[in-house]
Symmetry: C2
Subunit: 307 residues, 2 copies
């Protein structure tokens, strides 16, 4: 049988590309030794029908194209220094919408303190935005350099964007997070000196935990530490959704997921939410609020025998 | 009337983006002062239906995605140091074709001596490849720093790709140039020390001349200096095409177009073809083989009174 692109997950295809990176250490991004420093470089292509909710403004499409790339720099503890934009547009799109997208890109660049250092435009049947972000760090923050006993933490509540994608109104924290997420650059720069590892949550907590998992180590996440509000649970129920599924398997919040020693947690000068710890179980588990322990699955999770 | 994307040329849209570059000098690419050097960065998006001839192999699609970006570095006299790849693929594309594209990208990176330092994949209705190339130069070679009296030259014959797009067989120099163009990196590095200005010919000689033209200066190009062979003229005629139109208005050869003083031309250690000179006419002209002088137009050219 001939294998098609659809037979292989996107992560697998990216892994195949990454396996061809040379003279660098692949992590969230590529790391290239560069004049007594490390150049951190990353590229992300966003396609309208896949990455932009229907109610997202053109401005926010541009803003998000910068955020998703800069978030990869944040996860490496890198200081961003430039962004490149390649954009394809339908030929019957109003020119003003293009300007709104570009305005979103430029406002995001301002927000993250970086110049636009490259641009290209093209024609396509839908809006496609490829961003490339560059940063520097003297100490790249890797994703799998944690040890057993480290605490697992996040820079802010997760699952908001996931719920926001389901809600049509604009005046709530969930929709705001879904439509205009922000990268945790300042937090990444602080974590560089305190965390033992870090990545950003784009595909959902479960997916990221499976990405960073290394042989012999496991993770225990505690539902009660995820700070899930009654409002959140109620809204999820109203929309006929499983709140834990939203929180574990959607992502798009662009919070950082990091590990830290207990000693460093006390000294950490930024807010964070501790959600679990690194174990030697070799599996990824979730302790539910009712005390039961589940195996967390990659996209969804399945129950297994426990108390 | 509401303006649409189709009412504005692609170059105009790119110019609009470039006008928003900050703290850099926009030229062929962005130039960012960087640790006692200049970072040269450029991004180009290629879309299957627009940029890849139907008989182009998957390998050559990948190779070309690197070449078009690296060519922008060559035009700046920059030493390339890295390439990032974002690629969208139809979900029913054979996985092996993806590997062939990636192989083309990697072989091109090898050819230009640079590592792959970033990657992303996506799903789209056709193949879309966004490349980003990074380079360094202590002396950026700008596109409009020529003076009256400078000679105008190119690094190799042009119009080959234009003719190659029309020919279906693989065993001729034209088709080879159309399907696997190569960027003039080594030439760009040499020209940095000899030329007064440079750009690369992607959209055709006429288009590039109009791009680099500044107020008060003009260009006189001599048809006889373009070295157009009888074979070339005959093939164009066989295909019902105007050979001068092919040479002036198609491009895709990725040769460098540069200006140089007469003194430096004598010392230049690489081959080149002098095709004209910088004038103070404020217009772009072409002296035909029959001695008549035409105004060269941006896409096409029109006759005007002369002799």
């Amino acid at each position: 049988m001939t294998l098609k692109i659809s037979d292989i997950g996107e992560k697998e295809l990216i892994r195949y590309i990454i396996s061809n990176f040379k003279s660098i250490t692949p992590d969230d991004t590529a790391i290239t030794p560069f004049q007594d420093n490390n150049l951190i470089s990353t590229t992300d292509m966003l396609i309208q029908s896949r990455h932009f909710p229907e109610n997202m403004s053109y401005f926010n499409m541009g803003f998000k194209a910068v955020t998703v790339n800069v978030s990869d720099l944040a996860a490496m503890g890198a200081e961003p220094f430039g962004f490149l934009l390649a954009i394809a547009l339908p030929k019957d799109l109003e020119l003003d919408f293009f300007k709104q997208i570009l305005d979103g890109v430029l406002k995001a660049c301002d927000y993250y303190g970086i110049p636009l250092i490259g641009g290209d435009t093209n024609e396509a049947s839908e809006i496609i935005i490829t961003g490339t972000a560059l940063g520097l760090t003297d100490k790249p923050l890797m994703m799998d350099t944690y040890s057993k006993g480290d605490l697992i933490a996040i820079t802010g509540e997760i699952g908001h964007a996931a719920l926001g994608f389901e809600i049509d109104t604009f005046d709530n924290i969930y929709t705001k997070k879904a439509l205009k997420p922000e990268a945790r650059i300042k937090e990444g720069l602080v974590l560089r000196d305190f965390a033992t590892s870090a990545t950003d949550i784009t595909d959902g907590l479960a997916s990221e935990l499976y990405t960073i998992k290394k042989d012999g180590c496991g993770f225990m996440i505690h539902e009660e530490m995820l700070n899930i509000s009654d409002e959140y649970k109620q809204l999820a129920e109203d929309f006929g959704l499983d709140y834990l599924d939203l929180i574990l398997n959607v992502g798009e919040d662009f919070e950082l997921l990091f590990t830290i020693t207990k000693e460093n947690l006390e000294k950490l000068p930024i807010d964070c939410i501790v959600i679990g710890e690194v174990t030697d179980s070799d599996v990824i588990e979730l302790t539910l609020e009712n005390g039961f322990v589940e195996r967390m699955e990659n996209r969804g999770y399945e129950h297994y025998v426990s108390e």
